[in-house]
Each structure stands twice: as C-alpha cells, then as structure tokens.
C-alpha cells in the first residue's frame, strides 16, 4: 500500500511565524503535490514537483515555498504565516506524469494537516 505521511495532524501557529509542513511518501513516486482544502472551494494546488529539486507553481503559490531535497520528501513552507492561510493542507504523490498514465494520474493523499494561524 502506498503511504503518504504528514508530520502533524494539527498545528497552531501565530501570525508572522515561519511554518514548515513535512510530507513523506514511501513508494518511490516521482511526483509530489501540496494542496489546500477549504469549504466550498475544493482542493487548490499550491506547488508540485516532478523530481528532486524541481518545483512548479500551482494555482495559489503566493505566500508559500517548497523544498524537495530528497525524492521521498516534499516540504511546504509558509514564510510568514497569516490568518488567511488557516486551512487543511493535503500532500499527495503520484508515480506517473499525466501523459504517461493516459491522463489517469492517480494521486495518493496523506491524511492532511489542519493548520490554524492566530
């Protein structure tokens, strides 16, 4: 079974703090993703990575950065947390590009980190 783990289930931080969210996958997947999930808005892609040290912006990268130093680990960084970044953060991984998988591109998600910024 694919396993995607996230470092924290719940996190409370203060405005202005630097926040690190860690994600690890154990299936040697090439692709990794960070989403945020908000009621009524669905999952929105923040950043994704096709390979070690590579990153691509998603729909809402502002206020976030990412790091992928090792294939199995993808970190999301909030440089200066703000209250509008209070959300559920989901990490995912996928073994193939969309093209290689015939556009199936199944993503395997972690359980999420509920971040509250006060």
């Amino acid at each position: 079974d694919v396993k995607v783990t996230q470092s924290s289930r719940y996190l409370v931080k203060r405005t202005g703090e630097k926040v690190f969210l860690e994600c690890v996958q154990d299936m040697d997947h090439e692709n990794m993703f960070w989403y945020r999930q908000d009621p009524g808005l669905g999952l929105r892609l923040i950043y994704f990575s096709y390979d070690v040290k590579m990153k691509e912006k998603g729909d809402i990268p502002e206020g976030y950065s990412v790091s992928r130093e090792k294939k199995e680990r993808f970190s999301l960084i909030l440089e200066s947390a703000s209250t509008n970044q209070t959300s559920m953060y989901l990490c995912a991984s996928s073994p193939d590009t969309l093209e290689a998988s015939g556009a199936r591109g199944e993503q395997y998600f972690g359980p999420g980190t509920r971040l509250t910024v006060t």
Partner: protein
Amino acid sequence: QKEVEQDPGPLSVPEGAIVSLNCTYSNSAFQYFMWYRQYSRKGPELLMYTYSSGNKEDGRFTAQVDKSSKYISLFIRDSQPSDSATYLCVFIRGTSYDKVIFGPGTSLSVIP
C-alpha cells in the same frame, strides 16, 4: 461562472437507497473525469476514472458522463453506511497536474 459546480450537500439517505451525485462544468476542454472519495479525517482516494461519454460501472458505483450537456454523475446503488464520505468530482484539461481541477465535494451520510 465557476468552472466546476457541485452541490455541497449535506445529503442524507437511508441505507439501501440509490444515491445520485452530480457535477456540472463549463470548460469544453475537460477530457478526463474522475471521482474521489474522502472519508472524515482522511485524504481523498480515487474511486472512478473515465474519459468518454456514457456509463462506466464498478460494483455498486456507476460513473456517467454527458459531454454535450457538460455534467457528470456518480450513482451508488444499495448504499451502505460505509459509503458515508465526501465525494469530489475531478476534471482534467491537459497533460500537466496544474490542469487537474477538483470540485468542492458533496458530503453524503447513509443512515442505517
């Protein structure tokens, strides 16, 4: 107009009922369609995938796509309490992961 619209529910049905979950979309470029299921306190997991108009069955689940009317549906037959979850419709309009669009999800409760 939103690119994807999905009734958020919550939808509550008795055990054994037939459930119909629907999404409409406005972008004709969407070519591939999926349904993900998300249990409480868990991440989403792929339930069904299809790319053509018509129906696709998998056990108690049927995915329906109508490209001409721009809507997709997920039917659940003989619904079970274990089907209680949020169902996300997902659309793909290209070959990059930033072209994958998730709907907001419909919350379903199946009451024993």
